[in-house]
Structures are given as structure tokens and as C-alpha cells.
């Protein structure tokens, strides 16, 4: 299960909407071992594509080092799909490399609503999980 504040959920959706029709991507860091997403880190999509995303390699190094220094880990890795459902694609599954992370998918294919779903992807296996949104809307 992913527990996330409504404020952070809203930030992810806003990022996805802002970058549409390109895919948006980013990380929410949290204290190592806590499973609590706390620090929102939108990332550049170096592919700038409506069908693919990739973290810029030097930005990723900077962010990963920063998390390490702060004793954090990537609790949420999010990205958006702009024309397909909010479900991990084959490429999403093949590149998933953080077994502890919650992979959040947002779909911006509908203009008036955003699908927001979360998954664990471990050893090529996808398992959808419940999203519990905490805090006032």
C-alpha cells in the first residue's frame, strides 16, 4: 500500500498535466526504511517524449547522491502516460530497478480527470497496490 499526502498526490498530478503531452517523471524521497514519501523531486524527462521518459543521467546522480547524504531513498518513482492507461508498460517493467519503490503511474489521456495508481515492480512482476491519500483535500 502507498500512503501519500493529498498535497504530494496533487503535485504529481499537476506536474503530469503541466508536461502533457510529454511524459512527466520524478521522485518522492523519504527517510530510508520509513516507506514515507516526503520530499517531492520533479525530474527532467531527458527524452521529452509523449511515449518515453528517462531521467537525465547527471541530474539522477545529483539527486541520488543528495538522497544518500540525507539518509533518504526513492520511496515513489512516478511518471505519466499521456495516451494510455495508468498501468506499467513492458518498458516500465523492464527498466524498473528500485525494488523498494512505489511506482506511481498517472494518465493524462483524459483532460478532466487524472488516473493515479501505484504498483510494486519486483523481478519483472507487477503488483498493483492500494493508494491511501492522507490529509485534507
Amino acid at each position: 500500500m502507498l500512503t501519500i499526502s493529498s498535497a504530494l498526490r496533487a503535485k504529481i498530478v499537476a506536474h503530469a498535466r503541466a508536461d502533457h503531452p510529454d511524459e512527466a517523471c520524478g521522485v518522492i524521497a523519504g527517510p530510508a526504511g520509513s516507506d514515507r514519501p516526503e520530499r517531492f523531486i520533479p525530474m527532467l524527462n531527458a527524452e521529452r517524449s509523449p511515449t518515453f521518459y528517462r531521467f537525465d543521467s547527471l541530474e539522477q546522480l545529483r539527486v541520488w547522491r543528495e538522497m544518500d547524504e540525507r539518509d533518504e531513498e526513492p520511496v515513489v518513482i512516478y511518471h505519466s502516460h499521456t495516451a494510455t492507461q495508468a498501468y506499467p508498460s513492458r518498458t516500465d517493467i523492464s527498466y524498473a530497478s528500485e525494488p523498494e519503490a512505489h511506482y506511481v503511474l498517472v494518465s493524462t489521456r483524459e483532460p478532466d480527470q487524472a488516473e493515479f495508481r501505484s504498483f510494486r515492480i519486483v523481478d519483472g512482476q507487477v503488483a498493483e497496490e492500494e493508494v491511501r491519500v492522507a490529509g485534507a483535500e
Binding site: E23, C25, M43, E47, S49, P50, T51, F52, Y53, R54, F55, S57, L58, Q60, L61, W64, I77, H79, H81, T82, A83, T84, P88, S89, R90, T91, D92, Y95, A96, S97, E98, P99, E100
Partner: protein, 92 residues
């Protein structure tokens, strides 16, 4: 001669859980060969037929080795090599 190599979570199965290992070599390629001699299978995750695997980021200190010399990049005592799997995916 020691070069520190920082290992991402998913590759720590090759290092007995270690976040960081040491190795030696004059180039990145030699360094990976050296690591593989003690952590068998690690090189295969980093290097394919065409050189460095496309969705693995390797950094020499603060630089991405794609912009240096790839596997030919010279490495020296005191350098830090960092490996991070690329974070990528998409709608298809």
C-alpha cells in the same frame, strides 16, 4: 591502487550486499574485469556486446563516462566510479 565503485541496490546481490567495493585497472573496462573476478556476473550487467549497457549509467567522479571514453575511460587511484541503473520507461 584502489578505485571505489559504488554499487546500486539491485546489483548488490553480486557484492554480498556491499554498497561499495574496490577494484583496480587503468581503464573502466579493466576495472570491471577486475571486479568481475571477485564478483562474478557483475560485468555482464554493465557491459554488453556493444560496450556499456545503454540503460546503466556509469559515472567517473562527477561525469557520465558516455561523455568521456566509455569503457576506455582512464581511471586512477582515488577515483570514485558510481553505477546507477537508468530510470526510464514509457507508455508503450
Amino acid at each position: 591502487m584502489a578505485i571505489e565503485v559504488r554499487i546500486p541496490t539491485i546489483l548488490r546481490t553480486y557484492t554480498g550486499g556491499a554498497k561499495s567495493v574496490e577494484g583496480k585497472g587503468e581503464t573502466l573496462g579493466e576495472l570491471f574485469d577486475d571486479l568481475d573476478s571477485r564478483h562474478q556476473g557483475l560485468r555482464e550487467r554493465l557491459v554488453g556486446d556493444a560496450g556499456l549497457r545503454r540503460f546503466v549509467n556509469v559515472y567517473l567522479n562527477d561525469e557520465d563516462v558516455r561523455f568521456l571514453g566509455g569503457l576506455q575511460t582512464p581511471v586512477a587511484d582515488g577515483d570514485t566510479v558510481t553505477v546507477l541503473p537508468a530510470v526510464a520507461g514509457g507508455g508503450r
